[in-house]
């Protein structure tokens, strides 16, 4: 049964990792604007419309 101690420790660490990732993303402002990025990704900016 002692393997369980290790497994529980590992699972908690993984879960903490995801919690940390969530907090990091909130802190970075990922949830401040949930609309603009979805539009921005569809807009090209490399294309030069050189009609002349």
């Amino acid at each position: 049964m002692s393997a369980l101690y290790l497994l529980i420790l590992a699972s908690l660490l993984v879960a903490l990792g995801f919690l940390g990732a969530f907090i990091w993303s909130v802190r970075k402002g990922h949830y401040d604007d949930d609309y603009t990025p979805s539009v921005r990704i569809l807009l090209d900016d490399t294309e030069k419309s050189s009609t002349n």
Binding site: M1, I8, F22, Y31, R40, D45, E47, K48, S49
Partner: protein
């Protein structure tokens, strides 16, 4: 020398042209540039600016969605931004070289806008980056302050159509809080704890490990669960404790008080069980309850970014005004305006302080203050109160009182404007809660007493007491109201009706009287009924009139120009235009002389009959009076339907207008027999009227639009501001609705009432779960596994029910009405 080349009707286009930049029909002349049609010089300017910087992809994203730049812009308009004390407050961050501003650009409306605003660096290389937050309609722009001044940046944005909205509010240094993030942290941590405690409790649920000798593992699980629940108790649930405490201090019982009590009891019994090794505790249910309640609150309190409810007069006022100093014009922040300063106020600009007019004449539009829609004429030496807008040529004024002493500011500081609505005890949930909590507490005490004294079993007595509080925790009640109201808020906003918060919805459900303000709410702001009386006009004469009125910024001229939609205008044929304020205008159309204006101006006999009813504009060609335009305000076409639907729902309607009683005969039948139609109402009278209705026990909804209604909006149970552009001005209110959606008002009220019903129904559903749980709890048999199943299942049932039911109600009430109105 002939004038024949100037009378050129053949040059008039007959086909419709659509502006390549803004997508509007070209009503006046059509300008050609680069194989495209444009409606005005402004659009051409923006187009060539974009073309120069190779930004024409703008038009490929959402076709012609451009904005015609503000024609009232003039060089130097933003000079005040470069003053250190102003710029210091505008700037979000600066290291001396790179500077960041976060500006509100209300004109942005589509994905083309996002694209263009994020490519500002191509228009000016000093801009390092620009990032748009579309829901808030804001852009964060980083630029090289050495190469680009703040005023130049504002001018650049204005030139491409996105004028930044800068008001005195920006100067007061208020920065938006980050409360949203704190809520997300709390939800994240509670969810994390909830999931992990449940996982670690699995062995307990299935009685695993009870027969083995490995007791250490059980202890470890218990310790870990306790450790995981600590942040939930101390951080995530903190708001419930704080709110409960402040309610108790104020000597009333809000819904958070019994929740805080239940949470504390559950936590204490869990610690007791873990410490005495008599059981695993109920920490999973504890963390789950906090998690679900936080999600519900987040859902309910989600605000609409970009819609502001609590604007005061400061956000209406500009930051700076032009001041003349020995003839030289400088921009001065309006807080620094002093008595005897000379202001220069241009067309469409707001007069920020009480002042004496120095120019010969001015046309002042007070609609924002008094509700009177027609501009009034003022002459040299007259006192002009703050809040008026100049229409027409620039005027000079001498400041009489500083901004903080002015009439408008004084009005705003009136006690009625600062009154807060009492929300604490009015919500349905807290009303039900009062009985519910007492009942639950009663059951818990009786259970405790029976176990303790009758059955002589103190251990079970404490267990039964706390588990009763746990299963019957009013969190189901809280979830019912938060999820119903949260869902209704998003349904409403999809229908372009924006209640301020859940309390506004609950008050909306109780409305039984609706008071309308006339200006702008039931009339169409930019439209009027216009008839021409007199000789029938030829197409050429109509063209003359259209072209002539197109030159003037007088509101009546603009209405006539709009009325003559199908008639093209041609500025090239017009010569010698002159306008005399308060009288009319005159010009040469080829060889012919056209005059438009008052009867005296064109030489017509004054006709007083029916003059109170409407405004008249006379036309004369070559000194022959052709006739006159009659201009009457136009009511929203759906008005009769809307009023009928309100009457059907048992709601009384009233009209309070700051205007003259021009249309009493027309409106009286619509408003019904009991209706009271009052005209010439001052802001204070409106407020008193609403207060009078309330003292009769009525729940009043006030529909208004201007600052003149602000007091009545505050006093009413629900103050509804009508705004044709939600991002524009609106006074402090409980809800904002777009003008063309006002016809749905009966539907909104019906939906709010349904919402209250749904809360009661879902509460009844949760009672079934409660009774089931209580039957376990009072017998002392509520095991952690039953609690852990009951709690999420009941929560999910309630969330699903409220969401489905409120969506169904929205379909029923709003769709039906939309169809009726469309058919009408």
């Amino acid at each position: 020398m002939t004038m024949s080349i100037l009378t050129a009707p053949e040059a008039i286009p007959d086909t419709k042209h659509v502006c390549y930049h803004c997508g509007e029909d070209c009503r006046d002349e059509v300008l050609h540039a680069d194989d495209h049609d444009f409606c005005c010089d402004g659009c051409v300017t923006v187009y060539s600016l974009l073309k120069e910087s190779d930004l024409c992809q703008y038009y490929a994203i959402e076709a012609a969605q451009g904005i015609s730049p503000d024609p009232t812009f003039y060089k130097g308009k933003y000079d005040h931004l470069d003053q250190p004390d102003v710029s210091g407050k505008m700037i979000e961050f600066t290291d001396g070289r790179l500077t960041t501003v976060y500006w509100y650009l209300p004109k942005m409306h589509c994905s083309s806008c996002i694209w263009l605003l994020e490519h500002l660096y191509r228009l000016n290389p000093a801009v390092r980056s620009s990032v748009v937050n579309f829901p808030e309609k804001k852009a964060r722009i980083t630029f090289n302050a050495g190469a680009l001044r703040l005023s130049d940046l504002a001018a650049l944005l204005t030139r491409i159509g996105y004028e930044p909205y800068l008001s005195m509010d920006d100067l007061s240094g208020k920065k938006a809080g980050k409360w949203n993030r704190t809520r997300l942290y709390k939800i994240g941590i509670a969810g994390f704890a909830f999931g992990n405690i449940m996982m670690l409790s699995f062995p307990e649920y299935f009685h695993l490990g009870q027969n083995t000798s490995d007791q250490n593992l059980r202890t470890l699980f218990g310790v870990l669960n306790l450790a995981l629940s600590m942040p939930v108790l101390l951080y995530c649930a903190g708001d419930f404790y704080k709110s409960a405490w402040s309610a108790l201090k104020g000597r009333y019982l809000n819904i958070d008080a019994p929740i805080a009590l239940a949470l504390s009891c559950v936590f204490l019994i869990s610690i007791y069980q873990l410490a005495t090794q008599t059981g695993p505790g109920y920490l999973d249910s504890f963390a789950g309850a906090v998690f679900f309640m936080l999600v519900g609150r987040y859902f309910q309190d989600k605000t609409y970014a970009g819609v502001s409810f609590d604007r005061d007069y400061k956000s209406y006022f500009p930051i700076a005004i032009s001041v003349l100093n020995d003839g030289a014009e400088t921009r001065k922040p309006i807080t620094e305006l002093r008595k005897n300063d000379r202001m220069l106020v241009r067309n469409e600009e707001l007069i920020p302080a009480d002042a004496v007019l120095q120019s010969a004449v001015a046309m002042i539009d007070y609609s924002f203050v008094s509700g009177e829609s027609q501009a009034v004429e003022r002459r040299k030496g007259d006192t002009i109160y703050a809040g008026g807008k100049q229409k027409g040529a620039a005027i000079e004024l001498e400041v009489l009182r500083e901004v903080s002493q002015s009439y408008l500011t004084q009005l705003w500081n009136n006690e009625a404007f600062t009154r807060e609505k009492d929300d604490a005890n009015k919500s349905l949930a807290s009303r039900i809660n009062r009985y519910f909590s007492l009942t639950v507490l009663g059951i818990a005490v009786i259970t405790f007493a029976i176990w303790f004294w009758v059955n002589k079993n103190p251990e079970t007595a404490f267990l039964a007491f706390t588990t009763t509080l746990l299963v019957a925790c009013p969190c189901a009640l809280l979830l019912s109201s938060t999820f119903t109201n949260g869902n209704l808020l998003s349904v409403f906003s999809r229908n372009r009706f924006y209640p301020k918060n859940a309390h506004s919805i609950e008050r909306l459900a109780q409305i039984d009287a609706v008071v309308f303000d006339k200006t702008g709410t039931i009339t169409l702001p930019d439209d009027a009924e216009i008839d021409f009386t007199g000789e029938s006009l030829t197409r050429e004469e109509l063209m003359m009139i259209k072209t002539l009125v197109g030159q003037s910024s007088h509101p009546l001229s603009r209405l006539i120009a709009k009325h003559l939609t199908d008639i093209p205008a041609s500025r090239r044929v017009l010569t010698g235009f002159s306008e005399t304020s308060g009288k009319g205008m005159a010009a040469q159309w080829g060889a012919r002389m056209v005059k438009i204006g008052s009867p005296g101006w064109v030489g017509a006999a004054r006709d007083n009959a029916g003059h109170q009813q409407s405004s008249r504009v006379y036309v004369a060609v070559d000194d022959v009076v052709k006739g006159y335009f009659t201009i009457r305000s136009k009511y929203r076409p759906e008005l009769p339907e809307t009023l009928a639907a309100l009457h059907q729902a048992g709601i009384r309607t009233y009209l309070l207008s700051g205007d003259r009683p021009t249309d009493r005969d027309l409106l009286a039948p619509l408003f019904g027999q009991h209706a009271l139609l009052l005209f010439d109402q001052k802001p204070g009278q409106k407020l008193d009227f609403v207060r009078g209705l309330q003292s009769e026990g009525r729940h009043v909804l006030m529909v208004g639009d201007g600052l003149n209604d602000a007091g009545a909006l505050r006093q009413s149970d629900v103050g509804l501001a009508v705004s044709d552009d939600i991002n524009n001005f609106s006074p402090s209110c409980d809800a904002i609705v777009e003008g063309n959606q006002l016809s749905l008002l009966p539907g909104y009220i019906a939906l709010a009432r349904s919402g209250q019903r749904i809360i009661r129904q879902s509460f009844a559903i949760s009672l079934i779960y409660n009774i089931l749980g209580l039957s376990f709890a009072v017998t002392g048999h509520l095991s952690p596994v039953i609690a852990a199943i009951l709690m999420p299942v009941s929560s999910i049932t309630i969330v699903a029910f409220t969401t489905l039911a409120s969506n169904a109600a929205a379909r029923r009430h709003l769709k039906k009405l939309t169809n009726v109105i469309k058919r009408a």
